[in-house]
Symmetry: C7
Subunit: 80 residues, 7 copies
């Protein structure tokens, strides 16, 4: 019943996730990898602001900037 | 009599908790897991602001953004 | 004569303490536990602002948000 | 399928990348090296602001200032 | 001739010190103990602001909030 | 082809570098040494602001304040 | 030719140094000791602001608040 954070990150691989950053930006992208600092690799990244969507492609994020990862609804059942 | 923080986190598993974040946001959700950095996994997350409730679903939170977890009243007696 | 911080924390167990947080909030509650990062478990927590007292119940606080713990006057003589 | 952050950094060597810094600056340059703290070495660095492009040449960046590295589109297929 | 910081902290035990905190507060109190993170235990603590002196009694301070400890003039000669 | 950050720092020894600090200051000086935290020793340091150049002489910089070191153009070929 | 930061700190012992703090304060004092976190012990400390000089005597500084130490001109030749 207990799902540690690293296990959910593994389940989210290849899924579209939404990422909240400390600087207020919100990124959407497909999760390709991560490590114990929550450094993340994302693909097909889009940064959505009020009116504009910027395509950023493949991105490495330093974990210290991450606030939260939001799984798309319904991915919880995917096996690790 | 001494309840270390990690022990209370374990007792809170599967419970609805309220989470205070450093950026001022307040999240409510069911605790699915956590680790020694206070990285957390929550399900059925809702972000409540003055007038709006946003449903975020399943969320991984990086521990460095956490201020406090508030247990719902009355869960203290639940065995670990 | 030398009282290390962790020893005073242990003496404060089950006592009412006042907690100063980095975000300016002041909490009062009974100390149930803590660890080496100064992550704390408190019970019967109240957050007191200018005019309002909010009851928060049982709370886990991440140590990085703690500025100081203030023992109630007169608890110093309690054995560890 | 899992690409850890350090592996993508290695793939990006010698590639032109775009770097987002915590102080808001955006740098473009060729990645020459990096380490586990995300300290980076870049060459042919340009800092682009609204109207001006400053040439900075070879730069060492302390990892704690890095928000994200953006690979140029289409480099993902390069072998590590 | 070389006095490492932890040695001066030990010399200051039982002395009245003045403490500068990162949030701008200035505390005066008698040093009862400390550890390698500069977490401190103080007694008879007073917080002095422009016009008011608040008595805080016994206090545990998290080291990450400390800027500096100022020894009272003339304590340097006290043996460790 | 891969130049790790510490290797470029070694190549920069005795060179004039430009240093960007987190508090916005820009320092120019000759690099005399550094360590794994990017603590740096610089000589003949000058702090250049809009209109004034202050000579600071020999300086130890704590690495946590460093954003980036910029090598003077053309030093890349110097052997380590 | 390579002077690591800790070696320059040792050379600076008993010298008058100027200290830049993160909170913008500038302190002058004689360096009595330090450790690997750049926690420092200073004596005969003076805090100089625009018009006032405050004498602080003996001070322990937590390293995380230090930006830089500036050696007085001409001390470089002193043997370690």
């Amino acid at each position: 019943m207990d799902i540690p954070p690293h296990a959910l990150l593994e389940r989210m691989l290849q899924q579209k996730i939404i990422l909240q950053l400390k600087d207020g930006r919100v990124l959407a992208g497909r999760l390709l990898g991560g490590d114990e600092h929550m450094n993340l690799v994302l693909d097909e990244v889009e940064e959505k602001t009020h009116e504009v969507t910027r395509r950023l492609g493949r991105v490495v994020l330093r974990g210290s900037n991450v606030v939260s990862l939001q799984a798309p609804m319904g991915t919880a059942a995917k096996a690790a």
